[in-house]
């Protein structure tokens, strides 16, 4: 385990569940980023992985025109779906119910966990085997189940590794991307009974397969996320490569799926372009190994499949983003992770430094709605605004624009009618005064003339230590003569 995560994630219980990451303070966030930047192993892992993923994505889009057409289509489908979101959610609920799926609604993490714990209790479940679900991470599902005495076991290879290490996923698609195979070999030798050290990747995967197959066979309940929910047919679509998602949704007697309310589309055909652009943007695959479309529990006469299927629709701040036309674009996301793969900040600090379930650019625009700006007001500033995230986003979310908007929401003076919880949490009267003064000077030529004359005249008084700026740079000093004066001399 590398240094920056040790403080938050080292505390693993005997069951291998990580404690939830309580969001870190501004000072701690700076320290975590500082530590991550100075960790050469971490830097190497992420640089290598991001270069690999960027090259693979690029290879999937050789035809610029096709990419453009597919992006326009995908953005259009997501925006159309959001424009009808409440209608589509009701249609989805009606069709799922008709198909025999039980639909539940949860306002926040606690309610979602309570609903799922209720289902587990009703079935006297001891073990829940999990397919990959970031929403289950968002609500700290494993922790809630552990507290209630129910084992929640991750079965995606990356998630399994991360859970075994008592850590959190550092990437939404490749959870164990921060770990080297040697670290995983050591982890398996320590934590999996009867396994000795091997760093052969095939052997390590076979070890995971053996352990988890037993769990699929025995588990009482399977849990999964949802990539797309289709309103017109009442269908839950899952994208995966490993087959663990199919195991979790097929073998146990009960299947619980959890998803954010934004994942619904109207028509079945809408999933075709979204699925294509998702896998190509995410891991640079033309298609994933499995596309698993679930339209109901086992019917009379069928020989397998769960007897009960539940869907939990989670809000957790999404309706706040929905309420504002600009912020609503956050909800277009299909969780491909391309924004983090192309982010210069994410590549350098890794996914764990952020201290949020969703790291990287998408994490910075979605987490403030889930957690409130009191806790996350610094997040939108963890960005260079280089624009790479917006350029690769398959559904054209204007991430840089939203980051600027969130900075404004966080740092503006608190007012009575905020669109976001925690508006103004990052407000500083001093910073605000400085910027207002700056604006008064720079927006008025007369003021600017006087200011620049004074600045060049009294340049010797410029402080040599200019807080963050001089930590790694020479001090800023006004020029001895103004540009205006030099131009006048030449005329």
């Amino acid at each position: 385990m590398s240094a920056p995560h040790a403080t938050s994630a080292a505390a693993s219980s005997s069951k291998g569940d990580a404690r939830p990451i309580a969001f870190v303070s501004a000072q701690a966030l700076r320290e975590r980023m500082h530590d991550a930047v100075n960790d050469p192993h971490l830097r190497k892992s992420f640089r290598g992985a991001m270069d690999f993923l960027m090259a693979k994505r690029a290879a999937q889009f050789p035809d610029e025109a096709e990419l453009d057409s597919l992006r326009t289509l995908s953005e259009g489908i997501r925006q159309y779906s959001l424009s009808r979101l409440p209608d589509l959610l009701e249609q989805l609920e009606a069709n799922l119910t008709r198909n025999g799926v039980q639909v539940h609604w949860a306002a926040d993490a606690d309610e979602a966990n309570a609903i799922m714990l209720g289902i587990a209790r009703r079935h006297a479940a001891k073990t829940i085997v999990k397919g990959k679900s970031m929403v289950s991470e968002e609500i700290e599902f494993n922790h809630a189940m552990h507290d209630a005495g129910v084992d929640a076991l991750e079965s995606d290879m990356g998630e399994y590794i991360v859970q075994l290490a008592g850590e959190k996923p550092s990437h939404i698609i490749m959870p164990a991307i921060h770990k080297t195979k040697e670290q995983i070999a050591t982890l398996f030798a320590e934590k999996v009974p009867g396994v000795s050290y091997t760093d052969n990747v095939d052997t390590l995967i076979q070890i995971g397969r053996q352990v988890l197959r037993e769990k699929f066979e025995q588990a009482d309940i399977g849990l999964s996320g949802v990539n797309f929910a289709v309103a017109e047919t009442g269908t839950l679509c899952l994208v995966e490569n490993e087959g663990n998602g199919r195991m979790c949704t097929t073998v146990p007697r009960v299947h619980m799926a959890i998803t954010g309310i934004e994942k619904v589309v109207e028509k079945l055909e809408h999933v075709a372009p979204l699925y294509s652009i998702l896998t190509r943007s995410a891991t640079g695959q033309a298609i994933s190994t499995y596309f698993n479309m679930i339209s109901g529990p086992r019917k009379p006469g069928e020989k397998d499949g769960p007897e009960e299927v539940h869907l939990i629709l989670l809000d957790n701040g999404r309706s706040q983003a929905y309420a504002d036309e600009q912020l609503r674009k956050t909800l277009q996301c299909i969780r491909c992770g391309a924004c983090m793969n192309h982010c210069p900040v994410y590549t350098r600090i890794g996914g764990l430094a952020y201290g949020t379930t969703y790291p990287g650019p998408i994490g910075k625009i979605v987490s403030p709605h889930m957690m409130g700006l009191e806790q996350t007001h610094l997040l939108p500033t963890v960005s260079t605004l280089c624009g790479a995230c917006g350029e690769v986003c398959p559904v054209r979310i204007p991430i840089p624009e939203l980051l600027v908007r969130l900075r404004g929401e966080a740092q503006s003076k608190p007012h009575d009618n905020p669109v976001m919880v925690g508006q103004g949490a990052g407000y500083s009267p001093l910073a605000s005064f400085v910027w207002r003064t700056w604006a008064r000077i720079y927006a008025r030529p007369g003021n600017y003339r006087i200011f620049s004359w004074l600045a060049s005249r009294f340049r010797a008084l410029t402080p040599s230590r200019q807080s963050g700026w001089t930590a790694a740079r020479t001090p800023l000093t006004p020029a001895p003569r103004r540009l205006r004066d030099m131009v006048r001399d030449r005329q």
């Binding site: 990356g158 397969r209 199919r246 007697r253 809408h270 397998d304």
Partner: protein, 225 residues
């Protein structure tokens, strides 16, 4: 109905745009992608795609495929092959074609079969509804006769594909079959054996599902239906 349901929906309705955006039109994007090609060309594209995902493809005939399946089972050391007996393909499987393999029809529920399915069945055989040329993908609709786990739990999955049912794209397949009018409880797209790259981006096959996917193609010369 829960209080949260009503609150969430009310909140969304309060800020929902008065006019929904226009319904997206997909045809313009997909029409040029549905190339005007014959079965052979489609099969060639399907094959290139699925082989790149590590699947094995064998071309056979309506009459010859059961014998080929028997030979492949023998070559791969399949001791027990499980299949759905009550299907057109299942009815063609006769023990005489399987010198080295026990043919075991699925019987009972998964709960009754679980231990065998997980530990003693070496391969599963299913039919397919068709395939997708663009990506190299099989379309599988599990049924009462061919349950979901048949293509998931055994280490090898044998799939029978009629080349006349290969569609240019996923979009064409679901439009042509009018999937929106009714789907089975489980619908699958399968592109190769199970895999993962979760350890240091190194690709490994046989993660949780089948380690091998073997496709037997019939009617490779046939007309598109």
């Amino acid at each position: 109905m829960s209080a949260s349901r009503d609150r969430i929906l009310a909140r969304l309705r309060a800020s929902q745009p008065a006019q929904p955006l226009p319904t997206p039109v997909l045809d313009a994007h997909y029409t040029p992608r549905a190339r005007n090609e014959g079965v052979r060309e489609r099969l060639a594209r399907f094959r290139t795609g699925i082989e790149s995902f590590h699947a094995e493809v064998h071309v056979s005939s309506e009459a010859g495929w059961p014998a080929l399946l028997g030979r492949l089972c023998a070559e791969k050391g399949v001791g027990t092959l499980m299949y759905g007996a009550d299907t057109p393909a299942g009815r063609q499987l006769q023990p005489s074609a399987f010198p080295a393999t026990v043919l075991r029809p699925w019987a009972g529920t998964v709960e009754e079969l679980k231990a065998d399915l997980f530990h003693r069945v070496d391969a599963g055989f299913t039919q397919t509804l068709g395939a997708i040329a663009e990506t190299g993908t099989l379309i599988v609709w599990p049924s009462e006769a061919e349950p979901r786990t048949l293509s998931l739990v055994p280490p090898i999955h044998f799939a029978l594909l009629d080349a006349r049912n290969i569609h240019p794209t996923f979009f064409d397949a679901l439009r042509a079959g009018n999937w929106a009018s009714g789907l089975p409880t489980n619908t699958l797209l399968i592109s190769g054996p199970s895999k993962t790259a979760d350890i240091q981006q190194t690709l490994a096959y046989g993660a949780h599902g089948p380690k091998e996917l073997v496709v037997i193609v019939i009617n490779a010369e046939g007309e598109v239906q």
